[in-house]
Symmetry: C2
Subunit: 428 residues, 2 copies
Amino acid sequence: MSAAVSQTAVSSTERVQAAGLRARTASKRLALLSRAEKDTVLVALADALRAAVHRIVNANAEDIERGRIGGMTESLQDRLRLTPERVASIAQALQDVASLPDPIGEVVRGSTLANGLQIKQIRVPMGVVGMVYEARPNVTVDAAGLGLKSGNAMILRGGSAAASSNAVIVEVLRVALEAHGLPADSVQLLDGGHEDVDALITARGLVDLVIPRGGAALIQRVVLGATVPVIETGIGNVHVYIDSAADPETARAITFNAKTHRPSVCNAAETLLVHRDIAATFLPDALKQLADAGVKLYLDDDSRAIAGDVPNEPVTDELFGTEFHGLEMSVGVVDSLEAAIDHIDRFGTQHTEVIVTENRAASREFVARVDAAVVMVNASSRFTDGGEFGFGAEIGISTQKLHARGPMALPELTSTKWVVEGDGQIRV
Amino acid sequence: MSAAVSQTAVSSTERVQAAGLRARTASKRLALLSRAEKDTVLVALADALRAAVHRIVNANAEDIERGRIGGMTESLQDRLRLTPERVASIAQALQDVASLPDPIGEVVRGSTLANGLQIKQIRVPMGVVGMVYEARPNVTVDAAGLGLKSGNAMILRGGSAAASSNAVIVEVLRVALEAHGLPADSVQLLDGGHEDVDALITARGLVDLVIPRGGAALIQRVVLGATVPVIETGIGNVHVYIDSAADPETARAITFNAKTHRPSVCNAAETLLVHRDIAATFLPDALKQLADAGVKLYLDDDSRAIAGDVPNEPVTDELFGTEFHGLEMSVGVVDSLEAAIDHIDRFGTQHTEVIVTENRAASREFVARVDAAVVMVNASSRFTDGGEFGFGAEIGISTQKLHARGPMALPELTSTKWVVEGDGQIRV
């Protein structure tokens, strides 16, 4: 059994369509599994990964070595690296998924109609879910686990940087699935080039949903090229707005945490907006703390005037529109809450937006008028996360409005079906 | 004020993008309206339509005359025709929407996290919703009413057959909106050609959702060409499966109702599948009743052998795959429930599928294994309808799995937003 959809002489489209058909067949089995059956297999998959730790770490070393030769930065190498401890933690994540409630079969709504028909809307699997992602191989395992728990067959297309790690991981999972009586094709890995991605996102009738997870270029490619339904994820140009009625110490702590706690991820803050009335009180200390932590600051004229001697460069509209993924931050002074909302409306990506204020009217207006997946009052943007929200897992953070918005976990990987039960009702 | 986005020398793309920008601006107002404000305006819109009944009927007469000259069938002319009574009923539909609960602001989920953060997921409008549809002008009013109630700005692109009716209706609505202090651009009508549709479905960042409603060609065009999110609607190759344990009289009544009650619509049945063990008991009378009602029958060899002398033609795979929209029906005998499910899996469009049976195990298996928006036991497929389900209105029937599946009404026109409230929480 090959761990991946093997490359042959046939075209990418034919290979991917064949993979889609096998996934479709597997999905019919998965849709009918009980929670107990799924949880047993999830635990077995975790065991299989633990048992294969050396093979996985060795394959990962090949990826790292290839990356090193190719000039990959140390920090990217570190993101990619799998140690025995990290493999153990990835395996544990599968067991955590086993402990989550089964979304399938949940009754979402229901009623008995006047004519006696009993209608209920229940959660069912999507069917076949494609996932196109970059870098970290733990996403491979998370996607397989969440897919199995939600009754979906997964077609995964990981980044080339993690190709060896992903190939071994998926092979281990497939062998373990089959050993427990489930179709190996519940999880498939595409190992072709970009043409595999193009074939996957246009496989209408075979693929029910594609989730891209990665940088802006990857997401654009998928969204613009897809003819199957897509959920966009993860572009986060996050703003922290410090209202005139903010508590300065709370504002400083939230700003620092949102920017520096983990600057590479999508829920990190990129822009700090400060109300003019609190700028002189708040900004000098806040900017100094950021600069001391190595944050490169881009300031507008008003903030520079009160920034003291912190190193800075002038901000531009382009910088205001940039997700830095690192220790950089744009800073602007605004005249009003209204101006802050307008700025967010213009430059934001509808991911997470934060207001810091002790004023009730200001927080209510910000929450009502800012259009984003997550709007926060007096909390760090870093809390936009499936784990933090108590979902137990996360397959990505949706920044679109259709189907799912914000952190996505098991319910977001489901569709619904109406079941109507009668005793011979006809329409008159 | 023009009732429609006027045709000028500028390109279709520029005109539609300008319409999108105006809709975006209007949507920000609509998102903040209270239920009372929206309901007041909905009643006023209904009054305005009633007051304009003669203008609307006259404009409609132009459409009918153009259709007649162009060779439109009598039945299509009848679908298109607006009488004073039909205008009154369209106006009443707006008042019915006013009486429905407001979906906006509904708290879908929520909890208080261990760290004290209070999170809640609330319904918010989509923003700007495009709708591309054919024929009946009542859809124009329904879309405007459901859009307003759900806080969305609507960009409508009706069929050319109803161009005059739609233009007057939208102008009446826009004047009434403005008279009540709401932006006229809450409802816009595109009156350009197919290039307007292409511009609408690729207006990323301006249009949050497009719903196509019409024939298969229209839906294909939108789904394949769109780069904005789409909800597919309405293709219904509906099957009625008569199980061996069916009550023959119930089976006959449901089959007849599903096929003949309103054969032109998507929830009408197209294929009758009959278990071999009940075929001789059930089929002769059922087929005779269908034939007597004018249904053209396409029979497989097994059903023809027991059909008696009802007129029929041989069924083909192509006919099994056809949504007739009229008094035609394919009929097949199957050896088992399994075979019926396989047939539905192969030819169905995941709209509505019906089993008639008194056997509990058979109904449970059918419900579990048939993948469709609506699965019915002992009831006519004609009940797949927002009104019948108690939604009070319907904007279409989704046959896709993402976001909405089955009849769509107000909640399906919304997205959600997470609101997170804290008192200074940061991630550690």
